[in-house]
């Protein structure tokens, strides 16, 4: 039970970090595409979604394992 409680806490705290990180990366991409100009809206939105998804995939395990280590005091 103690272990499960800890796991849930880790999941919650990690999500609070990796979601903003990936949303930030996606927004940055959208902003850059808009500033450069010449891209149709679908390309900008599609690119934003893809960059956001990949950023989520990259940041999720890194942040989760770091938060887990912190929670366990390692």
């Amino acid at each position: 039970m103690e272990y499960e409680r800890l796991e849930k806490e880790v999941a919650r705290r990690s999500a609070l970090m990796y979601i903003p990180v990936s949303l930030g990366a996606a927004s940055l991409f959208y902003l850059a595409a808009s500033l450069v100009g010449g891209y149709p809206p679908v390309a900008r939105i599609g690119g934003m979604v893809w960059v956001g998804l990949l950023s989520l995939i990259v940041s999720m395990p890194i942040i989760t394992s770091r938060v887990k280590r912190q929670a366990r005091g390692q």
Binding site: A11, A25, A43, G46, V51, I57, A71
Partner: protein, 865 residues
């Protein structure tokens, strides 16, 4: 207890009284972060409340151990299903190691299991299974022996069946999708294909069940892993298939949406990518089990039935019900069910499957038999001496399993690389996407460019579709599945192959170290030599000897020595017996302590002893002195024989070399390995023996307790050193060496020290061990080369690095096929190890008797003028 603290019950062993309780409590309380400790002597447990941010279980264990007590641990093997690559290994290990109470988890991809060392009571088996299942794999407790064999086979067969079914679905529909996609290119064959198959929405409808049926496993597994902060290659596939399918759906439903329109519908990519990945999984499942065939072969050796003799009647019972002391009958052609001692009958037994000895070994009353070996010719009865887990076969299986479950340093590195590779690949996919989106498309895109092995031009594909395509291809082509398989599959095949030849490696690290050996140090007595003196030379004096026959001289000497208890006397008697000479009784016998013996034999006065004795008795041996000195220079002990007061001859006694010693040393030299001999003998004798055998270096006058120091000195010269000994007084040296080889252990392997166990008392097996280790490591390196070559060449190709020059890109489905081929290449390359044969041809060895190998007495009979 507040939010940040946890409760824990820790088992403690070694406590005997109240003061022990206070010691343990004191040690634990000293740890910062431990809020409360109550130690109970009756239950041998400590209840703690602690803050996990400040103190870990490992700290508590150390604290308990520092005051002289211990936290008991136990070991468990879990079968883990669903692992496909090195990153899976890292995830399962991480999931288990994260559990409080787990000290160590080692996962073997090839065997599909995890060996967990844990603190009982702190963590449960079900918690371990749940942790494994939460990261996307299935775990179950491992059963023993034949059950494990059946279970492993069942799991493998289920996986082959499951992926086979998936392959049929994905392959068949994928083929239709491909035909539909390339409908315009079919030419006259169009007549046989309905046109509606080329409609995008039909292709989409056909692809959907592939992605959500056989392809679903990639999405569910990767999501389960992601939730726990782990990424595996399922994620690469899921993002690849998902992106290809998603864009194709959008382009079909909304062709004007700007994703590249109909020209960029990647349904065939999604369908064929899924089919090829599943083809790879299916081929892997088919071939992977074969690399662990050795262990299955060993398990199969165990006969299921034993023929028990009870109250004089024969009765068939299951072999695992045999108890120590039971009387068992074995008929010709039958397997021997357990270990035992023959009490009646005579036969030849094929022990090749356990010892590697190719010729059948004779068995008669008093000899031992090994369970799992095969009776060839006669029938015999034996008493069971070791049953169940204690049999030689069970011990060997355990040792091989443990070795296969361990990790070589090179494997740890490969696992680490593969484990971090996937995150790196996703980062690369972002970089590739951004580059092609913002720069590459504008600078290099050519509408006439096409996919490799495809006639279709990329045409109207837009910037997003093109960049996404290259990004997805990078994800698919980078899968490190072959990297993960490269080392464990070869290690499994290598340990199994070695076991077939009676060489047992205690771990993968032992194989890796053995392959790097530069110097091998042999203990002399009992390793290079038989450890018991025997007659080596008989020299006759031609001048005044009463006999001119070496056998006659030896026989007279043996009769004179028959009642002697001196080892040299016994050697002479045994030497005569070995020649088949009849040794009668002396008429009179007198021992002269420290000098020799005198006896009356067949009416003659025989005087036998050292030089001093002959001087005292004024027997002039000057004509034979040159030969006596030459023999002594060869490290032999010379006995002078005078008959009727006349110098009649010399008998040289020495600890004789084992069979094939010289050949083994020559083979080691051919492998470029330096050899050394360690002995307590004086330098002259040691050097003489070393010279005779061809050993490069003699380490003489070394006391048993200093052997380890000598090994250390060689290591200090930067050499990788192996020590080969019989393990009796060599244990410290075996432990000090980079690889300790215990020779001639017989089949009681569990008791042996050393990293490598040579079951037979045959020094040539040192060569076998080195050759197998070198072959295995060669295979590991080849596998890693092939695995990395695919990735190193594939990633730039997938990322479009060559696109500006060749206007060709690789499609995701071709990337999937290449990755499937890489895994299969590695596994097939490993399977080539099955055909490996050591350079020693075991078939050339002479047949041995039932007991110890007989001395091959070949005295040098010379005469003196």
């Amino acid at each position: 207890m507040n939010e940040s603290t946890l409760n824990l019950t820790l088992p403690i062993t070694g406590m005997t009284c109240a003061s022990c309780v206070s010691h343990v409590e004191g040690a634990l309380k000293e740890l910062s972060g431990v809020k409360q400790v109550i130690v109970n002597l009756a239950t041998n447990k400590a209840n703690l409340v602690y803050d996990p941010k400040q103190v870990g279980l490992a700290d508590m264990q150390r604290a308990v151990e520092s005051v002289g007590y211990s936290v008991p641990t136990t070991e468990l093997t879990l079968d883990v299903g669903g692992m496909t690559c090195a990153s899976c290994v890292a995830h399962v290990e991480a999931a288990l190691n994260e559990l409080p109470g787990v000290n160590e988890a080692v996962v073997n991809l090839g065997l599909g299991n995890a060996r967990v060392t844990y603190i009982p009571g702190v963590v449960t088996t079900s918690a371990m299974k749940r942790a494994v299942s939460e990261v996307g794999y299935e775990a179950s407790e491992r059963s023993e022996g034949a059950d494990a064999l059946d279970r492993e086979r069942q799991v493998r067969e289920d996986e082959i069946k499951r992926q086979g079914r998936n392959l049929i679905i994905a392959g068949t529909i994928g083929l239709i999708v491909m035909i539909g996609t390339f409908y315009d290119m079919l030419g006259p064959l169009k007549a046989f294909v309905p046109e509606f198959l080329s409609y995008k929405w039909v292709i989409g409808l056909l692809t959907t069940p592939i992605v959500f049926g056989p392809g679903r496993q990639f999405f569910t597994n990767s999501w389960r892993g992601l939730k726990h902060g782990v990424t595996d290659m399922n994620l690469l596939y899921a993002t690849g298939i998902g992106a290809a399918y998603g864009i194709a759906v959008i382009n079909t439903l909304f062709p004007k949406a700007g994703f590249g329109g109909e020209g960029a519908t990647f349904f065939e990519s999604a369908a064929l990518l899924t089919a090829f990945i599943i083809l790879g999984r299916w081929l892997e499942a088919l071939t992977r089990g074969r690399t662990s065939e050795a262990i299955r072969k060993l398990m199969k050796l165990q006969p299921k039935i034993a023929r028990l003799i009870r109250d004089g009647k024969e009765e068939e019972i299951p072999a695992d019900e045999v108890e120590i002391g039971d009387l068992i009958l074995v008929r010709p052609g039958e397997g021997i069910p357990v270990d035992g001692a023959v009490i009646e009958g005579y036969s030849a037994v094929d022990e090749s499957m356990l010892t590697g000895e190719s010729l059948p070994v004779e068995k008669k009353a008093g000899d031992t038999v090994i369970g799992g070996t095969l009776n060839k010719t006669g029938a015999f009865k034996f008493t069971a001496t070791r049953v169940g887990k204690d049999t030689a076969l069970a011990q060997i299986i355990k040792l091989v399993e443990d070795a296969q479950a361990s990790k070589a340093p090179i494997q740890k590195l490969a696992d680490w690389v593969a484990g971090h590779f996937i995150l790196g690949v996703h980062m690369l996919a972002v970089v590739v996407f951004i580059f092609w989106f913002f720069f590459g498309y504008r600078w290099f895109f050519d509408p006439n460019s096409r996919f490799i092995l495809s006639p279709y031009a990329l045409g109207e594909i837009g910037v997003f579709g093109f960049s996404l395509l290259l990004s997805v291809t990078v994800l698919v082509i980078s899968c490190p599945c072959a990297v993960g398989l490269a080392t464990p599959s070869a290690m499994m095949a290598g340990t199994g192959k070695a076991a077939e030849h009676g060489v047992l490696f205690k771990g993968a690290e032992a194989i890796e170290n053995t392959s790097k050996l530069q110097t091998i140090v042999f203990d002399k007595t009992g390793t290079l030599t038989k450890g018991e003196p025997s007659v080596t030379d008989v020299v006759i004096s031609n001048q005044r000897s009463v006999t001119s026959d070496t056998d006659h001289l030896l026989r007279l000497a043996a009769i004179a020595e028959k009642n002697s208890e001196h080892p040299l006397g016994e050697a002479i008697v045994q030497g005569a017996e070995a020649r088949g000479l009849v040794i009668g009784e002396a008429e009179r016998f007198n021992s002269i302590p420290g000098h020799g013996v005198e006896a009356q034999v067949e009416g003659r006065a025989v005087l036998l002893g050292n030089r001093k004795l002959m001087l005292e008795r004024a027997v002039d041996f000057s004509p034979l002195m040159a030969q006596a000195e030459a023999l002594e220079a060869d490290g032999k002990t010379v006995m002078f024989v005078a008959i009727d007061g006349q110098p009649s001859g010399l008998i040289a006694v020495a600890d004789t070399l084992k069979e094939y010693t010289t050949e083994a040393i020559q083979r080691l030299h051919r492998l470029g390995i330096e050899t050394a001999m360690i002995t307590g003998d004086n330098r002259r004798t040691a050097e003489a023996i070393a010279r005779h055998v061809g050993i490069d270096r003699a380490l003489a006058e070394v006391l048993p307790q200093d052997k380890a120091e000598e090994v250390k000195k060689l290591q200090a010269l930067g050499k990788k050193v192996s020590m080969v000994g019989d393990g009796v007084n060599d244990a410290p040296a075996l432990a000090q060496a980079d690889v300790g080889m215990a020779i001639g252990s017989g089949t009681d392997v569990a008791k042996e020290t050393g990293d490598v166990i040579l079951i037979k008392d045959d020094i040539q097996d040192v060569v076998v061990a080195i050759e197998v280790a070198k072959a295995t490591m060669r295979k590991v390196k080849q596998n890693l080369f092939w695995a990395f070559v695919y990735n190193i060449l594939g990633i730039p190709l997938g990322a479009g690095l060559f696109y500006p020059f060749i206007s060709l890109i690789i499609s995701p489905e071709l990337a999937g096929l290449l990755m499937a081929i890489s895994s299969v290449t590695v596994t097939l390359n490993t399977l080539l190890l099955k055909g490996f044969k050591p350079t020693i041809r075991h078939g050339d060895r002479p047949q041995r008797g039932a007991g110890e190998p007989k001395s091959r007495l070949s005295p040098v009979a010379t005469s003196s003028d």
